[in-house]
């Protein structure tokens, strides 16, 4: 009898927590924090969202740890940036053995669907061009208007999984889209005086951002995407920046600031560390906050440079 009680207690300890939780909430795992923030905006209190990568982590290189597979094992939905940004994701979804999130399932969402992409390579491509993304630049979430298209994809997934809450999700999405649109209009107005300012970025992460807010990216610290800078490349970048009078270098927090600082010291430019993702800097805890932070930092820097830089 005692043995029976002990056994049943053990079993209940093992199983009860898993039954008790998550009965109504949809469990979503996203690859990046930006997708997490947008999923939370749409899912509201009916979703429970977790991101695999941290905001200050390079999303190209995330370790495919078995502990991530355990997270995915219990997920109802998986959202990824796509365009071959997360080459590590397939190992994780397969390793999770969770059919609900296999490619093609309702719970598998590629957020890039229907997004207008930039820099789709044409013609002969190979790796002599560096780590190029054959389907287009994957940093599309850095245009706030693409956030709306991403939410549309998330909405589709959530609606599939919980049709009874479709109206709730749609309302959430539309409210957030409206905030986003209002905010974008403000950001554009604030950036207006600095239109066409030339900048250099570390990695080619910012084409969508630059296009939306009227910046001109004229060069990169990396000679080719994913390839570390050589002295010869930096020398030519320095002369290019001097010629074009580039005064700002934008870098992501996960790169070494050695090369940007060197270039800055030779050109008098400023190095500005901007988070490309939610959670990449202190206080950046929502999708809107990400742009608010980056726009403010940029304007601060431009103003420090004495107004508009030609």
């Amino acid at each position: 009898m005692i043995r029976f009680i002990v056994l049943s207690l053990t079993f209940s300890l093992i199983f009860v927590p898993t039954i008790g939780l998550g009965a109504s909430k949809i469990k979503v795992v996203t690859t990046t924090t930006d997708l997490k923030a947008l999923t939370e905006a749409v899912g509201g209190e009916k979703g429970e969202v977790e991101s695999i990568a941290r905001g200050y982590q390079n999303p190209h290189f995330v370790e495919a740890k078995p502990s991530h597979m355990i997270k995915l094992r219990k997920a109802d939905m998986f959202v990824k940036v796509g365009l071959e940004l997360e080459l590590w994701a397939q190992v994780l979804t397969e390793g999770s053995r969770n059919r609900k999130i296999y490619p093609g399932a309702d719970g598998y969402i590629d957020a890039s669907e229907g997004v207008e992409l930039l820099e789709i390579p044409t013609g002969q491509i190979d790796r002599s061009l560096g780590d190029i993304h054959i389907f287009g630049n994957p940093h599309y979430w850095l245009d706030p208007m693409n956030g709306i298209a991403i939410m549309e994809n998330i909405l589709r997934g959530l609606t599939h999984l919980a049709p009874q809450d479709a109206e709730y999700f749609r309302k959430n999405k539309e409210e957030y889209a409206q905030h986003l649109q209002e905010a974008t209009a403000k950001w554009i107005k604030r950036m207006e005086p600095y239109r066409d300012t030339k900048i250099v970025t570390y990695h080619n992460s910012w084409p969508n951002f630059a296009k939306r807010f009227g910046l001109k990216v004229v060069g990169y610290i990396e000679p080719k995407p994913g390839i570390p800078a050589s002295p010869a490349h930096l020398a030519s970048l320095i002369s290019l920046m001097q010629r074009k009078k580039v005064k700002v270098i934008i870098m992501e927090p996960y790169f070494s600031d050695q090369a940007p600082r060197l270039v800055a010291s030779k050109t008098g430019a400023q190095v500005l560390v901007l988070p490309p993702s939610v959670g990449g800097a202190e206080g950046v805890n929502s999708y809107i906050a990400l742009f608010e932070h980056n726009i403010s930092k940029l304007i601060e820097t431009f103003e420090g440079e004495g107004g508009r830089v030609e």
Binding site: P66, M69, Y102, I125, M145, A177, A185, I227
Partner: protein, 434 residues
Amino acid sequence: MRIYLYLFMIFIILVSILGVSPLKEFSWGEQGKVKPIKDQDKIVILQHEISDLKKSLKDMQLVIEAQQAILDELKKDLVQPPATPTIQPSPRDPDSQAASKSGLPSLAALNPNISAIGDFTGNMSDDERSEEGDRFGFREVELGFQAAVDPYARADFFVATEEGEEGEIETDVEEGYLTLLTLPWGLQAKLGKFYANFGKINRIHRPERPYIDDPLFIKNFFGEEGRLSSPGVSLSSLIPNPWDKYMELSVEILNGENESSFAGKESDHPIYLAHLKNFFDLSDLSSLELGLTGATGFNDSEGDQRTTLEGLDLTYRWRPLGQGLYRSFIFQTEALFNQRETESRNINSFGFYSFANYQFSRRWYLGGRLEYSEFPSIDIDNEWGYSGILTFFPSEFSRFRLQYNHIDRNYEKDEDQILFQATFTLGPHRPEPF
């Protein structure tokens, strides 16, 4: 005249872009019960887009004017009207443009991921009898084909072309297996020829191992090929546990083809193998993996003498999340215990290696390896190995490595080796199992 035509066409295109895309983008705002987006904001965003378009329109106008000027020049030069009509601007066929944009014809997109890895080595040894000798070797070209077979399974093929003993070229299917992904209860099955799930290093393909040669115990117990592998089946499952940790149990049945520890090609008794993999996150930056393996089979073709192997593997990994591109550390150790029945007596032998690798910049790694091994059927001979390894990655797809080995043997004289390796990869290659 023509310039007006151009401008008109551009105007039409502009109108259609401006007229259609915002509607498409924000159409939900109208059907919803939520109040529509404030027009002002929409206007600001659109204004911005329009001014972009205006600018590119201006650029195009300049180009057109310049072209018109050239055309006029040419016309003036031609005293007589040309027999053939003047060059007509051929309107771009939107379909052909779309096709070239997508880049790939549709069937090519269904090709599996194809990769080729070249593994070039150089070897210098102070031992005259050393098998590798003082020479270069093109150890292997490994071709990989990987893709989903259908919604239920994926397939992985690795074919290696290797230099044989006489210098002839041998082709060998290193791995070729089907993985069933959608079995009930979260089970996964592998069918075909694959590297047995014995410890950690046995499953890693040679060009991707973190050192040039194979650890001594792998060589001694699994053969010069450097692996335990044969046709068979594997079934694996994640074990649910109250701590919510990764625990994977795999059970494999393989042909007893291995000649070093088991009976070899003519054996009709299989090897039974079980592996338990445990993974713990110590923090966001570091993790620990502990694996246990047991394998048993016969070492004679009659099936009278049993060999049992036990394996223990431990891996500690550290990589900072933010600056993970520039720093990392791994410590890995594996041990193998062998109990072999022979006609005369039972042999108990043992081998292990410990390996540490530190990444000190984006492209450089420095590593060391300490190892010890006895032999499957001899327990009085042993060898100790001491290695230093320096690795340089110009990119993810090419790698140069220099390694120094000192091998201390109790049955013949010591040996010093210097090894060099260049590994280069074409095409997409799936990451090795973590």
